[in-house]
């Protein structure tokens, strides 16, 4: 019985990931709200360095002390590589800051524009079609 519950949880988690990645080809403005910029400071729980878009999973602490799980879409890994970011820059549990825009339907989804690492390095991680906010300069 316990084994079945674990399997169901894993299936549900897998389905969630699949849904998020399947949404990747809509227009930026169809998924993300440019009127809702967010700055997320927290801890990396998972990172997927994958085409066509990378995914950062991070936890932030809410004002009431609860932990919120965020899924952040990034640009493609080759684009991030060309800007100097490497997959080995990501370490499970590391602190990081992401600036971006919140999802329209999914409030725990964001489109990352800028990633700041604890060593002070900053990278543009925005997807094609995002707002002209100067983050790529």
């Amino acid at each position: 019985m316990m084994k079945m519950k674990i399997t169901l949880v894993l299936l549900a988690a897998g389905a969630l990931c699949a849904v998020q990645q399947a949404q990747a080809h809509h227009a930026f403005a169809a998924e993300y709200d440019v009127a809702k910029p967010v700055t997320l400071s927290g801890t990396l729980t998972r990172m997927e360095w994958v085409n066509p878009h990378g995914w950062i999973y991070m936890d932030t602490k809410e004002p009431d002390g609860t932990v919120k799980h965020w899924t952040v879409e990034t640009s493609g890994p080759s684009q991030m590589s060309r800007r100097g970011l490497k997959k080995t820059d990501f370490v499970d549990g590391m602190s990081l800051q992401v600036k971006g825009y919140q999802g329209i339907k999914d409030q725990s989804l964001a489109n990352g524009r800028t990633l700041v690492l604890t060593d002070g390095r900053s990278f543009y991680i925005g997807s094609v079609g995002g707002p002209n906010d100067g983050a790529d300069k």
């Binding site: 699949a18 990645q21 399947a22 080809h25 809509h26 227009a27 930026f28 403005a29 169809a30 990396l44 729980t45 998972r46 990172m47 997927e48 360095w49 994958v50 085409n51 066509p52 493609g76 890994p77 080759s78 684009q79 997959k87 080995t88 990501f90 370490v91 499970d92 549990g93 094609v128 079609g129 995002g130 707002p131 002209n132």
Partner: protein
């Protein structure tokens, strides 16, 4: 033995050639004249309509055939940071490579489905998936009809973008397959930003 001379031989041949040439001219002229006089041949029948019978709309082909399979191509090679380590995911066994090749072929051939002009953009009455940002099916159809060459170009560009992926798969070169992924995405975006959400692209510039 008396030697017989044939003095008339050469003139005869010359005369014969002239006669044949004249006959040929007469025949050609006659056939041309008879051709002019004959009723115009019936026009060749119009080519039969292609035997294609679209069942799904473009939107359904994208969601049911192309998207799931191209995700398999993209996800075949990836790196994941989780549980305190970086894990590389690549096809390993022959069966793994065969599976990702199967999906790359599905996508490549499904591109041809998008070139069938009579295929509707979406099921009847289907709305825009993001009103105000993404066009309605009717607006998309209008854009395709105004620019069929552009539509064909972008679809074939997308189809061509799978070739490096297929070559990488055949060479069992995971890094090349990973690198091919960006071009596939670019060709998706080129078409989408032209025919699906051109307004959204214009507003982001």
């Amino acid at each position: 033995m008396t030697e017989v001379a044939f003095p008339s031989y050469r003139p005869f041949m010359k005369y014969s050639r002239h006669r044949h040439a004249a006959a040929a001219v007469v025949l050609v002229a006659a056939s041309l004249l008879s051709g002019c006089a004959a009723p115009a041949p019936e026009q060749a029948p119009a080519p039969a309509a292609p035997p294609f019978r679209p069942v799904a709309s473009i939107r359904e082909v994208m969601n049911s055939v192309i998207d799931p399979s191209v995700d398999e191509v993209w996800n075949a090679v990836k790196s994941v940071v989780d549980d305190g380590r970086l894990t590389e995911h690549t096809p390993v066994k022959d069966e793994d490579w065969a599976e990702v090749r199967r999906h790359a072929l599905i996508v490549s051939e499904a591109a041809n489905l998008l070139l069938m002009h009579d295929r509707p953009v979406a099921p009847p009455g289907a709305p825009s998936l993001a009103p105000g940002v993404e066009l309605t099916p009717e607006e998309i159809r209008s854009l395709i009809d105004k620019n069929p060459d552009g539509w064909n170009f972008y679809v074939q560009e997308f189809q061509d973008s799978l070739k490096p992926a297929l070559a990488a798969i055949d060479a069992k070169n995971a890094q090349a397959l990973f690198d091919a992924g960006e071009k596939i995405d670019t060709t998706c975006e080129n078409c989408h930003s032209t025919f699906w959400y051109p307004k959204a692209v214009a507003s982001s510039r």
